[in-house]
């Protein structure tokens, strides 16, 4: 039994914190929120220098050969300072490509960060919904996956369809995801500059989050020989990564709020001495600690108990997402009026919480999958 960070993992986390501390990410987030073009620093070179693009790629292909949990540690550090490092898009894409023997030749460039990938999020079936689906532009109904035609002479297929709100799609070199062919889910990769591919950058509420709508019109795609389990695994990995990122943001929200509760006095006492304030801050800690435990679960399950990875990652997303929701609101209320103003960092975390909750199937979608996995187990 060992459920703690190894020395290497502690080092990875410290190094990530150090690397991101060289950038004024929160100031940039505020300026970007003011509409200042180019305010956000390009963090990809720093990520490449740190070796993050190749975190999940085999050493034989130029990567670090690390595990999902290591990637979660890095995402947690990004979440602490709202750093827009495009790993949420890149890492799940490399996870699919890493299980596609035919993609081996591309891995070195993706590991070094020479080329950047973005994952086209596709939700695997649940006990209640037998089809794969994509996130809709709007509304509760899930969207269909793009359709892949019959292979042409060069072995490529023509893809037609769209993906909405794809993390880190703008500027990516290659888009990796799932399409439907003859009623079956297949892995596909398409170059972003291929004919028929359009990536429309979109900004919603949180300027630090890069998103794009991807539309495909007879776009030539390579069919990947990744097994369907790897395609589903990428979705669950994305859930675990956004959970880790959210919990990193929760850490900051808690630290900043505790510091303020110690120094701000009303009626002759520090406000942190009032039970109402103290208890809402311990509630953040409770949810944070539950979330951390589930990151361990997801990190362990991906290799140690693959059948439980969907449950573990969905539970982490559910708890992590709700934790950030609660922490961001509590951060504002503990600070009083100032917490709701542009002067403070709290609105930046609140905006992050609001948008994250609605991406990648939504926190509620992950919560539903937890129920579905357990109901299927119980039946």
């Amino acid at each position: 039994m060992n459920l703690s960070l190894s020395d290497e993992q502690v080092f990875l986390r410290e190094a990530a914190r150090g690397a991101l501390s060289r950038f004024k990410t929160l100031e940039a987030a505020r300026e970007a929120g003011d509409g200042e073009e180019g305010a956000l620093p390009d963090l990809w070179p720093a990520a490449c220098e740190a070796g993050w693009p190749g975190l999940l790629i085999d050493e034989a292909h130029g990567g670090a050969g690390l595990d999902a949990f290591d990637a979660m540690l890095v995402l947690g550090e990004c979440g602490r300072v709202l750093a827009g490092v495009p790993l949420l898009g890149h890492l799940p894409a490399t996870a699919i490509l890493g299980e596609s023997p035919s993609a081996a030749e591309f891995m070195a460039d993706l590991a070094s960060g020479e080329r950047r990938a973005a994952y086209l999020p596709a939700q695997p079936p649940t006990d209640a919904e037998s089809r794969w689906s994509a996130d809709p532009r709007s509304g509760l109904a899930r969207a269909p996956l793009p359709l892949a035609g019959a292979p042409g002479g060069d072995g490529r297929v023509a893809l037609t369809g769209s993906f909405a709100f794809v993390p880190d799609a703008p500027g990516a070199d290659v888009l990796v995801g799932v399409a439907e062919q003859d009623g079956r889910a297949i892995g596909v990769a398409v170059l972003a500059d291929a004919p028929g591919v359009k990536v429309e950058p979109v900004r919603r509420y949180d300027a630090t989050r890069s998103l794009g709508h991807v539309s495909l019109q007879d776009a030539p795609a390579v069919v990947l020989d990744a097994p369907e389990a790897a395609l589903a695994g990428a979705w669950h990995l994305a859930q675990a990564l956004i959970a880790a990122e959210s919990l990193g943001s929760v850490e900051t929200a808690l630290e900043v709020s505790v510091a303020y509760a110690n120094e701000r006095f009303t009626f002759g006492r520090a406000i942190g001495s009032y039970q109402a304030v103290k208890h809402s801050l311990t509630e953040i800690l409770r949810q944070l600690d539950n979330g951390r435990s589930l990151l361990y679960y997801a990190g362990w399950a991906r290799n140690g108990a693959p059948d439980e990875f969907a449950l573990a990652a969905s539970a982490a997303r559910s708890v992590g997402g709700r934790a950030l929701d609660h922490a961001a609101r509590t951060m504002i209320s503990v600070h009083g009026g100032i917490g709701a103003t542009w002067e403070h960092d709290a609105p930046l975390y609140f905006r992050r919480a609001q948008l994250s909750r609605r991406l990648l199937g939504g926190t509620a979608g992950a919560t539903d999958r937890v129920a579905g996995e357990l109901i299927a187990q119980a039946a």
């Binding site: 039994m1 509760a261 361990y296 573990a312 937890v370």
Partner: protein, 405 residues
């Protein structure tokens, strides 16, 4: 990062499993078909079974060898618990004595006390109970009013009342926290005693709860005579001695959450059994939220175990797992009863029992509010609640409270 046994742990697990395979046919049946019905017979059978477990080295796993234990760590204790659960046999009857009170005596007791009491405790020959909480001293445990007055011969006279006492109805001894000096601030005037439960002036009365069953007791002490050597850990040192017991209580709770049966798969099975509920988005959403948190607690337990394995002692944050479990189970009880309807509340329903038990459990081992205070102050470093009792002799405090009321 892994959940696997080390080779040494695997060997220990095999040894425990082997012993259980050989002896489990002699274990008493206390649940399901063929179960013993009579309460006294159950207790007698479980005491005998505890003796067997002790002989086999399956009781007092973490106790030092010189007191009859195995001298092993908390991981081995957990392995032992897991194997006992797997073999579907009862564990030891006196989990409170062996898990919390024995270790307190080992830490603070005299040599005579250790040699007199520990052996019979471990083997179930003498069952113990914990006499700490009182009607007006629970979360604020140092406010106990049960009074012990020293006599000219060095002995003591004890009067007062304790409550929430598990196993008192058949216990041989109790470990009791009493006030011995009311003229000093409240934490300083306390002393820990060993009390024979058959002494004259001790009255045990069952305390019925919401379920209608009496799983706890009230215990009354009317001028009970105690010998001079009944004191554990020195006169006036009762608070420090009590903190040792409470630390072991935290460890026990931290390692035993799943053992209470409040787990996600059991609750999911109740929902899955209803064709409509299992497809209802609102029911699924609630189940998903509850289950995620209960799953988290399982892995918090593994993190606690890892820390224990490295020689770290769980801090007050372990109390957060209890908050999660209790509140999660309360929500699960509500959800399942909403799905099942009034039948979930029939007297023989497992859900009715759970729903009845949880409101009290919320306060067990400290109310949720006091746990959140402690964690806020000791873990997050928030300033303490202003206190009106600091440095004030207990006797004055009582009169102040009287005046304010």
């Amino acid at each position: 990062m892994d959940l696997d046994d080390t080779p040494e742990q695997a060997a220990y697990r095999a040894q425990v499993r082997g012993w259980l395979d050989e002896h489990k046919s002699k274990a008493p049946v206390i649940q399901g078909p063929g179960a013993i019905q009579d309460e006294d017979e159950i207790v007698a059978a479980r005491r005998a079974w505890q003796g067997k477990l002790a002989e086999g080295g399956l009781a007092g796993v973490t106790w030092p060898k010189e007191y009859g234990g195995q001298g092993l760590g908390p991981i081995e204790q957990v392995i032992c618990n897991q194997e006992i659960a797997r073999a579907k046999v009862p564990g030891i009857l006196d989990a409170i004595g062996v898990g919390m009170l024995g270790p307190t005596i080992i830490a603070h007791g005299s040599d005579e006390q250790k040699s007199r009491y520990l052996g019979p405790m471990l083997h179930g020959d003498e069952v113990w109970c914990q006499l700490f909480s009182e009607p007006a001293a629970g979360s604020d445990l140092a406010a106990v009013q049960t009074r012990a007055r020293q006599q000219d011969d060095g002995g003591w006279r004890l009067s007062g009342q304790k409550v929430w006492t598990t196993n008192a109805q058949f216990a041989s001894y109790g470990l009791l926290l009493a006030r011995t000096d009311a003229d000093v601030p409240k934490h300083k005037g306390l002393t820990m005693f060993i009390v024979p439960m058959d002494a004259e002036g001790v009255t045990v009365r069952g305390l019925r709860q919401i379920s209608g069953e009496a799983e706890f007791n009230e215990v009354f002490f009317d001028d009970v005579a105690l010998a001079p050597d009944a004191v554990v850990g020195g006169v006036g040192n009762g608070w420090g001695t009590a903190l040792t017991t409470l630390m072991y209580e935290r460890v026990t709770i931290g390692l035993g959450g799943e053992g209470m049966g409040y787990n996600s798969i059991r609750f999911a099975a109740a929902i899955a059994a209803d064709e409509h509920a299992r497809r209802d988005p609102e029911v699924r959403h609630q189940l998903g939220e509850i289950a995620s948190e209960l799953l988290a607690v399982r892995f918090t337990g593994y993190r606690t175990l890892t820390a224990l394995q490295k020689g770290q002692i769980p801090g007050p944050e372990a109390g957060l797992a209890k908050v999660t479990i209790v509140n999660g189970a309360i929500k699960a009880g509500d959800l399942i009863a909403d799905v099942v309807g009034p039948d979930a509340l029939s007297e023989d329903s497992e859900w009715a029992y759970m729903i009845s038990f949880l409101p009290g459990l919320k306060s067990a081992g400290g109310t949720e509010e006091i746990l959140r205070n402690t964690i806020g102050e000791r873990v997050l470093g928030l300033p303490p609640e202003p206190r009106l009792d600091k440095g004030i002799p207990f006797s004055e405090l009582r009169s102040k409270e009287g005046a304010a009321a």
